[in-house]
């Protein structure tokens, strides 16, 4: 009936002890994007406890999470639900499960690409590339305008010194590139 071995896999990947959860639902109570979610972090944890792998990997919630880590900061049992959702995203991606929120995967990919090449985030580049890639050009315009007025979307990127260092870190963890010992 229930696949209770799945919890071990998620525990290891996320470095959490999900069986500790006693379902007070405090994580969901504080989550800022829970209204966009189907289940919310507490039920995601319960589903991990039950081993409902397929349902979990297909659900939108794991991609909706913005990893603000409010859930983990408030959890009485020190479970970082954001990292659990991260682990679920990782499993879903590596097992080629059809992603419920394709835009989110594109966002993650662009984010990594930008940081790799520029050394840090540049919001305008990310925004522009994401809009082009998803062809969702005109959504969230008022919000974008407001952020721009507040100076949250600087046109000129803040570059760092020795950008090549960040790229080397990326290469070190890229399975396709030659493995560099990074200790563990």
């Amino acid at each position: 009936m229930l696949d209770i071995n799945f919890i071990d896999q998620v525990n290891t990947l996320s470095d959490q002890a999900i069986q500790l959860c006693y379902h007070c639902h405090k994580c969901t109570a504080g989550c800022p994007v829970t209204d966009q979610m189907e289940y919310g972090p507490d039920r995601i944890l319960r589903m991990v406890q039950f081993g409902e792998k397929e349902k979990l990997l297909k659900c939108r919630d794991i991609w909706i999470c913005v990893a603000c880590e409010t859930c983990g900061a408030r959890c009485p049992n020190e479970i970082d639900a954001a990292r659990v959702l991260g682990a679920l995203r990782e499993i879903a991606y590596s097992e080629n499960v059809a992603v419920a929120e394709p835009g989110a995967v594109k966002f993650h990919k662009l984010f990594l690409l930008l940081v790799k090449n520029m050394g840090r985030m540049h919001e305008v580049s990310l925004l522009a590339l994401h809009k082009l890639w998803t062809m969702n050009l005109f959504s969230d315009l008022p919000a974008g305008a407001r952020l721009f007025m507040m100076g949250k979307v600087p046109l000129k990127p803040h570059l760092i010194r020795r950008q090549g260092e960040v790229k080397r870190i990326y290469d070190a963890f890229d399975p396709k590139k030659k493995q560099v010992s990074h200790g563990n």
Binding site: R43, Q49, N77
Partner: protein
């Protein structure tokens, strides 16, 4: 003619805010027996009590009325003050003008003042008729009877025996140890518990102050606090062995004992709840649905975790908490208190011994209140992969060689069906069989569930309302071993307090018989609810056992010759009091 002083208390504004105390003083002063009246802000304060003492000396008072709060509040305070000034304390009474007047008539000041005056004057009448009484003393038999040889009885027996008093410990079964002896171990310190119990049993069996009777039951209890006479029927163990060899299955010959004891401790413990009362959980018909105590036998040294039906090791095991507890409609209304903890222990032990197996626990709430308890349950959840499912089990039935459990997980809102190999029901702790009958023999009350009732739920948890009868352990209600041991030691302390003097003091406010008027008709003997009356075999008049008399007055009403009276509540006093009130 008495010389009575009346002291009217303001109690701040509690009394004086409603009652016109000056008027009360004026009105009471007119009473012929009253030689002194005064009002004062707080009579119970030290200066207030000093005022009473000073006035007694100055006016040669022989009686005192304090018009203040309820006698339940400060009667003792004022009586002590009066006694220290040389007046008999039974010549002091409280007139309750606070709870019965000022607090209930705050909007009717005039009427309240009149009522207060009437009450104070009636109490003046009572005091003028009050006799000066001396406390009665009665001997105390410094030996205790403990009923039940489980951990509660054992702990209590050892505590009292070690203080130097003889103990009679009786046990219904053939062995000491009770239910604790049937456990594989206890939570928190699992492996040490059986050894510790055996050591305690050893101490009991070898202690010179403890007499142990096994296969023994209480037949009859007579007497009262300090002076009980208990009849016990015991079947001798040695005799049993001989008999069994000679004639197997033959009934043992009972031997009757009679003991004089000063106190009785009820430590009769608990019994299993019949699974037949849980039809939706198989009603005891499915061999692989067992209760917690049966699973303990599998976990105990020499036991093996296996299915009773075919002896196979169960791979999926379901524990069902509250299987009958917290179910007022179908089971018992109370929480059995120990299940959350022992189920955690059992699930942990199962997982230790069957590492590939999967334990599930259905629960409504986890009640792990106690030092280190919640940490223990959390550890079981975290380290032993025990899956806790929040919800009640709806149905358990057999399907092939599996036992199917229908439950629900209310946290995710989904129905569950588990095909288990073994189901362990955490059934309620039922009161020990025969508790109600024993309670009737002891005149100690039992509650609706059959557990013994304590004298006060918060402040007198180890005493019963019958003086000299104390409670220890689960006879009073579900509790675990640490709580049981604490209560047993508490009961021992209460017994030792009683035994600290060879004589005990009894209130002299009891019934009395005027010998000249008594015709020994025996009406009072029949009517007395406390068994305090008897006809004296030599003098042929009714007598009162002051230790048993609770001054209820039933004998006074029943006596056709008006020979029965209660000290300081005589009919002439009551009529005089009524004259003042009406």
């Amino acid at each position: 003619m008495s010389r009575i002083g009346v002291f009217v208390c303001h109690c701040g504004i509690n009394i004086a805010g409603t009652i016109d105390v000056a008027t009360v003083v004026e009105q009471v002063k007119k009473h012929p027996d009253v030689v002194f009246v005064v009002d004062y802000k707080y009579m119970c304060s030290d200066p207030g009590q000093e005022l009473i003492k000073k006035t007694i000396a100055e006016y040669q008072l022989d009686g005192v009325v304090v018009a203040a709060c309820s006698p339940a509040m400060h009667e003792t305070t004022f009586r002590r003050a009066v006694a220290s000034a040389g007046v008999n304390s039974f010549r002091c009474e409280s007139a309750n003008i606070r709870e019965q007047v000022s607090w209930v008539h705050q909007e009717q000041k005039k009427e309240a003042t009149d009522k207060a005056t009437a009450i104070v004057r009636s109490i003046v009448e009572k005091v003028s008729g009050n006799e000066a009484l001396a406390p009665i003393t009665a001997p105390v038999t410094q030996r205790v009877l403990i009923i039940g040889g489980g951990i509660a009885g054992i702990r209590c027996a050892l505590d009292i025996a070690k203080a130097g008093f003889p103990v009679v410990l009786i046990e219904r079964n053939s062995q000491l140890g009770g239910k604790m002896a049937q456990l594989s171990g206890t939570y928190l310190n699992f492996s040490a518990a059986p050894d510790l119990l055996q050591k305690l049993i050893q101490q009991v069996n070898t202690h010179p102050n403890i007499q142990v009777l096994t296969n023994a039951e209480v037949e009859n209890v007579d007497g009262y606090v300090g002076n009980f006479v208990v009849k016990v029927t015991a079947k001798n163990e040695d005799q049993a062995n001989v008999k069994e060899q000679e004639e197997p299955g033959k009934e043992l010959v009972p031997i009757d004992f009679s003991f004089d004891v000063g106190a009785i401790v009820v430590a009769t413990g608990w019994d299993r709840y019949s699974q037949a009362l849980l039809p939706e959980y198989g009603g005891g018909e499915i061999p692989d649905v067992i209760d917690g105590l049966a699973f303990e036998q599998m976990l105990a040294a020499g036991g093996k975790i296996c299915r009773p039906s075919d002896g196979k090791v169960p791979n999926e095991i379901v524990f069902v908490q509250c299987a009958g507890s917290r179910d007022p409609e179908r089971g018992v209304p109370f929480c059995s208190k120990v299940c959350c903890m022992y189920v955690a222990k059992q699930a942990m032990l199962y997982k230790e011994r069957v590492p590939t197996g999967q334990p599930y626990v259905f629960y409504i709430d986890i009640r792990s209140a106690g030092k280190g308890y919640d940490e223990y349950v959390q550890r079981v959840m975290t380290d032993y992969q025990v899956l806790y499912l929040r919800g009640k089990v709806g149905k358990i039935f057999r399907d092939g060689d599996k036992v199917v459990v229908w439950g629900v997980d209310t946290l995710s809102g989904r129905a569950l069906e588990i095909a288990a190999d073994l189901v362990v029901l955490a059934t309620p702790m039922a009161p020990s069989s025969g508790s109600v009958e024993l309670g009737q023999r002891l005149h100690a009350s039992t509650d609706g569930n059959g557990f013994f009732t304590e004298a006060h739920v918060k402040l007198r948890p180890v005493e019963t309302l019958t003086a000299g009868i104390f409670l220890a352990g689960t006879a009073q209600g579900p509790k675990d071993i640490p709580e049981t041991v604490s209560q047993a030691s508490g009961a021992a302390a209460k017994v030792l307090q009683l035994f600290s003097n060879e004589k005990m003091t009894i209130s002299p406010l009891v019934a009395t018989v005027t010998a000249e008027l008594c015709s020994a008709c025996g009406t009072c003997v029949e009517i007395c609810p406390y068994g305090a009356r008897s006809i004296h075999p030599l003098w042929n008049i009714a007598t009162v056992n002051a230790s048993l008399c609770q001054s209820c007055g039933a004998c006074v009403v029943a006596c056709p010759n008006k020979a029965s009276q209660v000290h300081n509540w005589r009919p002439d006093q009551i009529l005089a009091m009524l004259d003042e009130v009406i």
